[in-house]
Amino acid sequence: MRPAPQIFSRYELDSAYDEMFDLSNKPRPHYQPLHHRLTGMPEDVWKSRQEQADLMFLNQGITFTVYSSNEGTEKIFPYDLLPRIITAKEWSVLEKGLEQRIVALNMFLADIYHEGKILKDGVVPRDMVESCPHYRPEMKGIKVPNGVYVSVTGTDLIRMPDGSFAVLEDNLRVPSGVSYMLTNRQVMKHVFPALFSSYDVRPIDHYGQELLAALKSLSPEGVSDPNVGLLTPGVFNSAYFEHTFLARQMGVTLVEGRDLAVYNKRVYRRTTNGLQRLDVIYRRIDDDYLDPKVFRPDSMLGVPGIFEAFAAGNVALANAPGTGVADDKAIYAYVPRIIKYYLDQDPILQNVETHILAEDKPREMVLRNLDKMVVKAVGESGGYGMLIGPHATQEQRDEFARKIVDDPRNYIAQPTINLSRAPCFIEGGVEGRHVDLRPYILYGDKVKILPGGLTRVALRKGSLVVNSSQGGGSKDTWVLY
C-alpha cells in the first residue's frame, strides 16, 4: 500500500525508519497536521514557497564555501521546506542522554590533561589517547576556567531502523551549523506562518543569549564584565557567514587574528581608539592554527602568544585547546566505558558499533567485509576521508584497504547504517531522504540544550552522506511541547 494522495505518489518505504509514516503507512500522530496540509495544497503553491525560501537565503547572502570547487565558491545551503518534527517524549530522552555524555567527556578531558586516572586504570589505553592527532601535550596541567573544556558541542545523532537514537559523532572542537538552525526557523516562520502556528513548537531564538552567557561564565578572575570576542579565520572560511551571524546575535566583536596582539601575556584588539583588552574568546579557528608559537608555525590566521596568555589565565578560550582528543573516532568507541567510569551510569544514548582497526581481529574482519562497512579517518570531519563500502567501487575499496593496512590507528569502521528518512519536497512531489540531527549543547554554569537542532538531509536519492560539503541540505527542526 502506498501513502495514497498524489503528492506522495513517488514516496517509497523500506527498512529505514521513516519519520513521517509508521509501519502500516499511516502518518505518525505528530505528522498528521503536516500530512493533511500537504495533501490539501496545490503543487504550485508548494513550488512558489520553495522559490520564496531560496530567494530569502540568496538575498541574505546565507552561503557557505566549498573547497576544491574552482568557481562560485559561495553557495547557498539547500533548504528543504518540510519541517522535521520531534515529540516531547523523544526529546526528553535526547536531552538527558546528551547532558550525561557531555559531562562525562568533559571529565575525561580534565582527567587526561591532569592525573590521567582513567589511563592508569586501563579503561582507555594510554597510547590510544597519546597517539591521537588532536591530543595536545601542551594542555597538560593547565587549569581551565570552571573546569569547562567544551563550552559548545554539536553532537551528530542518527535514528536507527528500530526508531531509537544513536550518537554518530561527538563534535567537541568547533562545531558549525547553528546559524542554519536559527535561519531555517526564521525562513519557516516567514514562508509557512499558518503551518507553524498550528503546531506547538518550542522556541530556539534565544541561542545567542545563551551562548553569550556560557562564554561569560568563563571570565578570568577579577573581571566582572568581560570583553568577549569571536575569533574567525576570516572571510574565506567556509563558515564565515555563521561567524558574523553569531557575533551579531551576541553583540560581540568579530575579530581576526590580525586584529589581535599579545603583550605581557594579555590579549589586545586594535581599535580605532587604541588597543583594548579581550577577556573571553569564542574561537572558531582550529587548534592547529591558533598560535604559530605553539602549534603550526606557518599559521597566518592565529595570534602569536595567545596560548601563553590562555595558560596564564588571562584570557579564556572556548572551546579549550585539545578537546579534539575526545571526539576522535577511535576514542568514540570507548565513550560508553568513559560514562560508566566517571558517572557510574549506563549510557542513555547508544553508540554505533565501532571497530578499532588498530586491533588485529576486528581489522581482519573489516577488511573481509569492506563492501558492508563505513570506514572513517579518525581525525577528519565534514565527510572528508570516508568510505561508504556498499556505494563504493572495488577500486575505492582496494585503496582504502591499503590505507588501513598502512596506518591502522588512523581508521575505524562501522556497519553501514540505514539512517532514518524524512519527507522532503523534491521536484514537485514529496520523497523520503535520509537525515541526521545535530543538537547544540552549551556548557556554562550548567549544561543547556536548545530544543531543536540542525537536521541535515542527504538530498541525493539513496545517499547516506548529509554533509554540506558533500551535497547535503537542511531542514527546520521542530521540538514539540
Binding site: 540568496l58 538575498n59 541574505q60 547572502g61 576570516g234 572571510v235 564565515y240 557567514f241 558574523t244 551571524f245 557575533a247 551579531r248 566583536t253 568579530l254 575579530v255 581576526e256 590580525r258 586584529d259 596582539a261 603583550y263 605581557n264 594579555r266 589586545y268 584588539r269 586594535r270 581599535t271 580605532t272 581608539n273 587604541g274 588597543l275
Partner: protein
Amino acid sequence: MLSRVADSLYWMSRYVERAEHTSRIVEVNLKQMLDESPEVSGRRWDRVVNCLRTDPPKKGDREAWNVATWLMFDLANPDSIASCVASARENARQVRESISTEMWETLNRLHLFVKKSLSDTVVRRDPHEFLKSVKREIHVLHGIADSTVVQGEGWMFLQAGKNVERAAATTALLAEHVQDFLAEDMGAAADGFLHWVGVLRSCTAFEAYTKTYTAEVRPARVLEFLLLSPIFPRSVRYCVNTIRRSIESIELEHGTTRGAKALKASRRLESLLDFLSIEDLMDQTLRARLTEIETMCGHVHKAIEDAYVFYESTPAEIRGAA
C-alpha cells in the same frame, strides 16, 4: 570599534559612492552624445575618463562605446561600476556584523543584479535601465542606512568615506572643466547650456541649482554652487563640513585627541572653502586652486587612516613600563 572594521566601513562607503558617481557620469554623457557630432563626442570620453581619475581602456580604441563599457562592466578596471559594487560588497561582507541586515541585503542584491547584468547582452547594448537601477538601489541603500544604522562611530566612518569620495570627485569634475569656466562665450549658446546642464546633472545638481539661481545657467554660478554651496549635499564645501563633523563625533565618543591631525586637515580645508568667494576664483588661479583642494582632500583621507587604522601599536601601560 576595531580598526579593520572602521577601515572596511570607510572603504565600503567610498566604493558605493564611486559606483554611483560613475553611473551618473556615464549616463549623462551617453545622453549628451545623442546631441553632438562624432568629433566632439570623441573628446568627451577622454574627459570623462580624466574626471573620474581612472585609466582609459588598455585595449581597443577610445571610441565612445568602448570607453563606456570599460567604465560600466569591465572587471579589469578596478574603478568600473561592476568592480566598485563588488569591492563595496566584499568590504561589507567582512564587517557584516557591524552593518544592519537590511543594509547588507540591499547591497548584496545590488551585487547580484550587477553580476547578472555582466553577461546580459540586452543590458549591455542598452545600459540606461542598468545605470538607473544602480543609482536607485544605491539611493535605497542610503535611505536604509539612514534609518537602520546606529549613529555611532561606525556611522561616522561611513559618512567620512562617502564625503571624502564625493568631495574629491566633485573637485575633479570641476577641474576637468577649468577651460570652460574661464572661456568667454560658454553659457549663452544652446551648446553651452547643454554642456553646463550636463555638469550639473553629473552631480544631480540641476534641479537644486535652478531653485537657487533659476534656470539661467551661468558658468560662475555653476562653479559657485558645486564648490561652495553650504547647503547642497554634493558641494565640496558641504562634504568637507560633514567630514569635519564626523571626525569630531568620533573624537567625542573616544574622549581622546587621537584624531587631532585628521581634524586639523579637515578644518583647514573647510576654512579655505568658507572664506573663498566666487570672485576670487574666476581667474587664471582657478586650476591651481582646484588642484590644491583635491590635494587637501587626499590629506584628509590619509590623516583619517593614520589616526584610526595604521597607527603604531603598543599598549600604553607597556610603553610606560619599558
